[in-house]
Symmetry: C2
Subunit: 765 residues, 2 copies
């Protein structure tokens, strides 16, 4: 095993910070039987994952001593006198939410909630805006650049008192600032002298993207498409009368990251969601989320007026249709005055759309945009489309359809583009549309739920995946002139030449009704990383992993390092045992669980794994160069050149762009066939290493969550072996090549793997 890792350098060296030498790994201790009676509930708080990263468990004594002097009271400027311990901040406002969170958080961290105080005093945490405390304006704080959502944390003097100031231009900014202060304290112990800096705070932060939105693929019957965390968090049946308390905790968690919007229902939408009973349900959710700065959006089915029988067509240029949507928007805004707008999946995978009437995506989007524009609403129009006709390369279609429309969208439309051109695979090159539509604001669509990365079972920290895309240099330069421009910069810049000033990012949520929210403890980290990257797309995945681990498990730096290391290696492990070297779309049909590279019998060619890997006796991979589909030409020239040559294409994406002979010589000096096998083996080894590393953490992680994770890591290892064995068995059957010495034969014959069926897999929603 050691030899293999050596051979995979330098890439693996980056992703496997082997601070723990393999030789030092202890054997896995036997897991305590879960079924055994007698397991007593831990005294006090049970770590069942419900509290997410907002656990606020008591700090150690030394840390408390550092924090108490700078957080000994809470003052919310402009709320008048404190009254019997309860502050006079208006109920249901962001300010009240901020104060409540500080009390809850500091109360937990310090063992006792700081009192609310009417007057500024030494050691107080003071929340203030220029409106609530006019004196702020004269302090040279430079609040203006923070905008309506940014915040400032500063140790300063107010009215002669030494305070911890949270300042912002709006109460939402104060709420974000309150969460930032709590995060700082909660994680502080892990950074060198982290808490020592609390007395000399001077930080400012503002979101780099305006729209930071979750997309729930939640159906009205409470199933969730690609959901692996129980039912939908939205108990539609009980709404609007019954508002689950989880909605508030959901809002707190999102606000703690800066997420400021949520699309409640699946992009595969139903007309019902826009009828009165459902608008009332959505309004109840909106009321609950509003104090946390989160706007509600809905996925609209393009044919809604037609299907409800209100119009005779859904043609976007038909005046009756436009009038219907205008009236519908008015109706929605009456119930939800700050309704965000619509998300639309049109003319994609069977969904209706403007093309049904020979209209363009822009025609459809602009018609809806005009309906919500008077209310300051927006339309997020998805670029995930592929034609019914047999395409030359599915990866090219979104670009082919949308690039020509650049400049034709209304100012309140964003085009929402998946991170890659296929569909949320474990690894995809950045979507060629990024940088290709300078007159149109593009909104990133990441998938947080792990449809293709092992459901909630596998530990795969996606922070690295998000960062990989966001940091990709599209070489489109500012204004598309060919200079350096990362995807993050492109998102932040928005439509440089267009009339729209909108920017945004969306994540397909992994949130459900399960107690731990995401189906596994570690999947919470993907929600976290998405949210933090939405705030700052140039944040570092490694730093976010440490932040999350410190708040979620322990702020002990040694624990944080080990947990973060595990996270940082995890996604690459999944890529290795599922789709190494740029392979993609090799999963089982429909449910997308497990390997099925042999599938070749589906109706559309581009639904079949064989369409994507094109393996035969001669070689493997999808030729997307000029000799093939020429998808590389969709990228800016610098990037296209790089991807056009296998020698300059990163090996991690090699077979995405190239069909190569089995004896193609890799950078390692090995033949492609040998390298492919080595990657599969390394994935399995990494999965094994992950469970062993976790086992070593048993003494420092609470028993319950440690066991929860250990059981899943065991299952992940078994499934990694399955992926590797089934894939090797299949590719050997087409390559006809022998396994090199030392490479283990698959555990079962190929037919066994082909026979496996999963008719009851979750997430088919």
């Amino acid at each position: 095993m050691r030899r293999m890792f050596k051979a995979l350098a330098p890439m693996l060296a980056v992703i496997l910070p082997l601070s723990l030498p393999l030789s030092a790994l202890l054997p896995l201790p036997a897991l305590a039987g879960q079924g055994a009676p007698g397991a007593q509930a831990a005294p006090g708080v049970v770590e069942d994952g419900y509290d997410l990263w907002l656990r606020y468990r008591p700090l150690g004594k030394a840390a408390r001593v550092q924090v108490r002097p700078v957080a000994s009271a809470i003052v919310a400027a402009g709320t008048g006198t404190a009254d019997g311990g309860s502050i006079a901040a208006p109920a249901g406002t962001p300010l009240q939410a901020a104060v409540a969170e500080l009390q809850r958080g500091l109360g937990g961290l310090l063992g006792k909630a700081p009192p609310l105080a009417a007057a500024v005093q030494d050691g107080a945490v003071v929340l203030a805006t220029p409106a609530s405390m006019p004196a702020l304006s004269g302090m040279g704080l430079q609040l203006e650049p923070l905008g309506q959502e940014g915040y400032l944390l500063r140790s300063t003097r107010l009215q002669g008192r030494k305070v911890t100031l949270i300042a912002a231009n709006s109460d939402i900014g104060l709420l974000y600032g309150a969460f930032a202060l709590l995060r700082k304290i909660g994680t502080g112990a892990e950074a060198p002298a982290g808490l020592a800096g609390l007395g000399a705070l001077d930080e400012r932060s503002a979101p780099k993207l305006q729209l930071r939105v979750l997309n729930h693929w939640d159906n009205l019957d409470r199933t969730v498409e690609r959901g692996y965390a129980g039912e939908s968090i939205w108990n539609w049946w009980a709404l609007p009368e019954v508002r689950d308390r989880r909605y508030v905790d959901y809002a707190r968690a999102n606000a703690s990251l800066g997420i400021n919007g949520t699309v409640l229902n699946n992009v595969n939408s139903k007309p019902d969601i826009l009828t009165a009973p459902w608008i009332a349900k959505a309004a109840a959710v909106a009321d609950t989320l509003r104090p946390y700065g989160i706007k509600v959006y809905l996925s609209a089915r393009f044919s809604t007026p037609l299907e409800l029988g209100d119009t005779k067509t859904a043609d976007p240029l038909d005046p009756a249709v436009a009038a219907w949507w205008k009236a519908k928007a008015d109706e929605i805004y009456k119930a939800i005055p700050d309704f965000g707008g619509f998300l639309v999946k049109a003319n994609s995978e069977g969904q209706p759309g403007p093309q049904d009437y020979k209209r363009s995506h822009a025609d459809g989007a602009n018609m809806l945009a005009k309906a919500v524009a008077p209310h300051k609403g927006i339309v997020m129009w998805r670029a995930f489309v592929y034609a019914h006709e047999k395409p030359d390369d599915r990866a090219k279609q979104a670009y082919d359809e949308f690039k020509p429309l650049d400049g034709t969208f209304d100012a309140n439309v964003l085009v929402q583009v998946k991170n890659g051109a296929i569909d949320f695979q474990p690894r995809e090159p950045a979507h060629p549309l990024f940088g290709a539509m300078p007159k149109t604001p593009l909104m990133m669509e990441f998938q947080i739920t792990k449809e293709y990365l092992g459901y909630a079972t596998h530990l795969a920290y996606l922070g690295t995946m998000y960062q990989e895309t966001l940091a990709t240099d599209m070489h489109t330069g500012t204004g598309g002139k060919g200079g350096s421009a990362t995807v993050a910069q492109i998102l932040e810049a928005g439509a440089e030449q267009g009339k729209s000033r909108l920017t945004g990012i969306a994540g397909v949520a992994n949130i459900g009704s399960e107690r731990n929210w995401s189906g596994s403890h570690f999947d919470q980290a993907n929600w976290y990383a998405f949210g933090r990257l939405a705030w700052n797309p140039q944040a570092q995945a490694g730093a976010l992993a440490r932040e999350w681990a410190a708040q979620t498990f322990s702020s002990d730096p040694a624990v944080v390092t080990q947990v973060a290391d595990l996270m940082m290696m995890s996604r690459e492990a999944v890529v290795n045992y599922m789709t190494p070297l740029g392979l993609h779309h090799l999963m089982g049909t429909g449910h997308h669980h497990g390997p099925a590279p042999w599938v070749a019998n589906l109706e559309r060619p581009d639904w079949n794994p064989v369409y994507y890997h094109r393996a035969d006796q001669g070689g493997i991979g999808f030729d997307r160069t000029a000799s093939g589909s020429n998808a590389v030409a969709q990228y800016a020239p610098d990037l296209a050149r790089q991807y056009a040559d296998p020698r300059t294409t990163p090996e991690s994406m090699l077979l995405w762009f190239h069909h190569l002979p089995w004896d193609y010589k890799m950078a390692s000096g090995r033949k492609l066939w040998d390298e492919l096998l080595a990657r599969y083996d390394s994935g399995v080894a990494q999965a094994d290493q992950m469970r062993q590393r976790w086992a070593r953490l048993k003494p420092v992680i609470d028993a319950r969550r440690h066991e929860d994770v250990a059981v899943l890591l065991d299952k992940q290892y078994q499934e990694a072996v399955w992926w590797r064995d089934a894939s090797v068995a299949y590719f050997q059957s087409v390559s006809g090549l022998p396994l090199p010495a030392g490479v283990k034969a698959p555990g079962r014959p190929l037919d066994y793997y082909k026979s496996l069926k999963f008719p009851y897999a979750p997430g088919r929603g």
Copy 2:
């Protein structure tokens, strides 16, 4: 309103113990907004319902003083010395479960868990069987009649020490005894001097039915047919590797009631459940439940071998089929040595069965019975059948099909009969099969989930409904000779003339993945009441309501009385606003939510509400006397005579048996039309009263659960009005009669109620 209640005497006087005069009711206080931020978690334990009736919250000081001297240590006889605080009872055994529960329970109630002790000492709780403490045999305890599941609680002297003895013939008996002691302490404070008696205990209890079984209608994709409490508790996808901790708490809750079996999957079954991967999943559940005395059963699809392609037919008399089932049983018992057996729904509602091959239900049941007999397994064969052909009266069919088969079933077969002859309606007369098959053990099937009684939204305590059926005198006498014989007695007697000694009862579970298990706090009471009645079918619903309320909310006798009063009136309220006077099957199609008495267009006549109420200008009701379907003749002569005459038929079942003119004169002196309207109005008034009574309890119930329930009671009231209004509007449209003075017209025209659709209602699983 007061006048109306007076008019409904005497029935209402029984069901409305108006200890609270209406004039004393306070107005409903405004509910705290759930969406408001700032709601702090209560310090310590949050009452979210997860702990069910096993909350074990600290007793008051006076109570603790009474309990401590009789529970100051725990001694498990035969386990050797205590070792560092942990007892040597073998892990994963019922004895360990009993000790752990006593430690958990007494620890919670007393604030500190009594230590485990190796030697008998004064004040100890001693768990002992004749096997673990041979001295028991000489004490004249008369343990033998307790059987393998009964227990004895006695304050006595052992080895010269004054102890609280829990004695039984088996460790399962000890576990039941431990729960009984904890229940006694937990509820004791509510009975006069309840805890004072702890020092002079002398109680013995043994179950009156052998098989006390939950039926989960849970599908393999984790949906639940008629489930209103989230997804299935069985996370099939994650099993067998991941065993949810809930399974242990599920086992504890069931064991606390004496439930000793659970059918894991829906009676509408799939072949997959009997394949190797699913047997492994069931085995993992069985391993978890085993220490709690709970056996696992599976619902078997009759055509399984045929559908799996292993046989060419599913004909029960085909030797290959019988051999397949025998081999399958062997395979299951290898994985689950104490597997309980099969539950089968055959030739009913489209399910396959022996009649597909011109064989009888007995042919089918006996073939399966022979497969499991070598392993001491059983078959529970459902009598819920109705033919595909148009029947003269669906209510007659189970009797017509099964009575002729009496005496033809193997000794390890029970016939499982629903409480009534239609389908779990809010009120049905007892099923005519009870007492009609003296050579066959009949197993009662109650529905705990509220398919027809308002889902989990409506508060409807079903203890009264269960008791009503169990206490019904079928007049079949012992051995069917015509004397008095209640349904309870018939169940307890089993097959008096047959070869089988089996007895049993089943309840269709209302348990799901929701935090509070049952979808609402009060629905937990139905699980509780079912379990306690399964142990003793002659228990009283009122006493069980008090028991449950004391453990679930507060043992303060005043609170217990008010909560129990609410419960005791609740089911009759539902009957009144849904299906008064013996009406039945008036609900919406498919989802069974809300009123739809007008439905007349379904494929089968007996799927239509109009088939059941037969209302027209002349009158209303189903004539089941000799002039009609003559279903009354299926009852024993004494009962048949009573039901044949409207004057001797209880008014609560009047229209079940009789078609009567609108001006039929009721006992109240009113005309039937007026009486019907009055019942609907009383149902609405009762729903209103329920929410007002609950509002008054606000100061004495924890805030969270009080609000949870208050919101639902509000919704229940709104839906009661809807049921009443829609029903009145419809029946007026067919009767053509005016509403009497003082009766309020429905709020909307009939067409409005007809237009309501619920395509996303839960429970369609």
